[in-house]
Amino acid sequence: MRILNPLRIAFKAIILNKVRSLLTMLGIIIGVASVIAMLAIGEGSKESIRATITSMGSNMITVRPGSDVRGGVKQERSAMETLKLTDYLALKEEASLLTYISPLVNGSGQVISGSNNWPSSIYGVNPDYLKIKTTELQSGSMFTDAEVQTAAKVAVIGQTVVDNIFPDGKDPIGQMIRFNNIPFTVIGVLEVKGENTFGQDQDDIVIAPYTTVQKRILAVDFLESIVASSINEEKAPEAVLQVSEIMRTQHKLTESTANDFNVKSMEELISTFSSTSEMLTLLLVAVASISLLIGGIGIMNIMYVSVKERTKEIGLRLAVGGKESDILMQFLIEAILISLTGGFLGVTLGLSATFFIENFLNWPTSVTSYSIIISFAVCAVTGIFFGWYPARKASALDPITALRYE
């Protein structure tokens, strides 16, 4: 009975003032919905930027031999011949922060098929290489570990090579090509990547098992470099340290000796990514705070004014015997009902708006649970507080003062 009556009174008051209740709710609805939709758009763009940057191989780590001076002449890095297959095996075995790892040897030469030829580079790698480079095949398949073991004469080629040695549009898969007179069977074609940021054509490439390239083309047993990918971008710096550690042990370097190798991560890409994502996060937080602030002020105003203009009603309720606590309870329940209903409608509207933007405007969006929780909480708490606070002041007045309030 004690709780039923205030509920009944509050409910009646809301029904009686449909327009006012709706307007009050509208402030909350729009506040919540706009924050959810805006954060969804922001998060969506952030994720799509992240995906783009990740596809550039931002977690790639490269190990190269260090350069050295021999007889007063600086030698080319690969001439050092210090990077061995054992280093690759040790890293593959011990480096826990790496997901994929591949040795790399490369050489350049002429690709020939029938009467067509084209100067290109050959990369000797293992099957992990495509994952490290986040590259897919547009047709055919990648060679297998078994084909690496047997130094099979198979190759995956880029689109530029295809265009130049199969100008008649013949399906390259299964065709025989020759690289520096060594015959290879084409088993796959890489997807088109275009030029990289430095203007290098990433499609002008022939990929073959590193064993094949080492033995049959270059006749070497050292590696040009070792490429790997760390678990994720954030772990890249740690992975670099881990790799250095393992390499030092491998090369039996004493503490006073400098590294005879270089470990590089894609630091520029990583810092670009983190600064971009930080900027976006900041922007999002700023936009969301402003909309929440404005929404909150709107709710505050409507609640404050609508309670103020009911001071007379409060006076009457006091005069016919309503206790201060009865009045407070009524306004508190009213504020809770309005705020929660408005909040739920706002979440619904925000989610529908996001759905619409995603499916009809084709913007990437991503709804985060924290945006729902925070916007709902801020609006509801503001609504409830500013519904309750002026009511508290009004119900503490002498009935006659409240009655005479104009």
Binding site: M1, N5, A319, G321, S325, L403
Partner: protein, 247 residues
């Protein structure tokens, strides 16, 4: 001798108007017996509304004693005062003070909503009963905007009666009404008074005072006269004597 419902002794009320202290009531004493129909007369500024607000427990005296139905009001907390207003007093305002957009019956039920002893069935029953008593049995579901001034005041009277108060206090209850409607309302009050309800009525119109059994006249915060009305006029008769309206 019948029971004394109201007893006030040396009642004072002061207001601060800016820096100036204004004495609205300068020490008033009187008592009201059960079943009396008292009018409190006085020009504006005489303190009559202030007095009524104190009697209605809407306002507190600065000093002096006020007892209603044997209870000393001065010692009461806010909540106890609310209970007194709810259970012992029916207050009627000049401007009716009905809740807008709320039906007559719901307006009448309002005081009972704050009385947890009354069930919802009893609440409805009692509201219907008092609305019939004031002659609005046919208009229970009309909202104030669909009622005339006189009818709105009847709703307010019904609301004041619904809690079975020991006393009804009316503040210029006919002040917003034309003569004919005023007389109708006064005849209703006289009827209620005949049924034993104590009424205290504040007015500045001398003809209204002739319908009551006792008149207290206030001037500048003091009682200047307090007399029994020997020749009580019947509002119903006066109403019959009014010239027929020509519309």
């Amino acid at each position: 001798m019948s029971k004394e419902i109201i007893k006030i002794e040396d009642l004072k009320r002061e207001f601060m108007m800016g820096t100036e202290k204004v004495q609205a009531l300068k020490g008033i004493s009187f008592g009201i017996q059960q079943g009396e129909f008292v009018t409190i007369m006085g020009s504006s500024g005489s303190g009559k509304s202030t007095l009524l607000n104190i009697l209605g427990c809407l306002d507190q005296p600065s000093s002096g004693i006020y007892e209603i139905d044997g209870v000393k009001v001065k010692d009461l907390t806010k909540n106890e005062l609310a209970t007194i207003r709810n259970e012992k007093i029916g207050f009627i305002f000049q401007s009716y003070n009905l809740l807008a957009k709320t039906s007559a019956i719901e307006n009448v039920e309002l005081p009972l909503l704050y009385n947890s002893k009354v069930s919802s069935e009893e609440r409805r029953e009692r509201a219907i009963k008092v609305l019939k008593m004031v002659g609005l049995g046919e208009r229970m579901h009309h909202t104030p905007s669909q009622l005339s001034g006189g009818q709105q005041q009847r709703v307010a009277i019904a609301r004041s009666l619904v809690n079975n108060p020991v006393m009804i206090l009316a503040d210029e209850a006919t002040g917003n009404l034309d003569t004919r409607t005023s007389y109708e309302i006064m005849s209703l009050f006289q009827e209620l008074n005949k049924q034993g309800i104590t009424i205290t009525f504040v007015t500045h119109e001398p003809d209204i005072a002739t319908f009551s059994s006792r008149t207290i006249v206030l001037k500048d915060g003091n009682v200047i006269s307090d007399y029994k009305n020997e020749a009580i006029q019947s509002a119903a008769e006066q109403l019959a004597n009014l010239p027929k309206e020509n519309h």
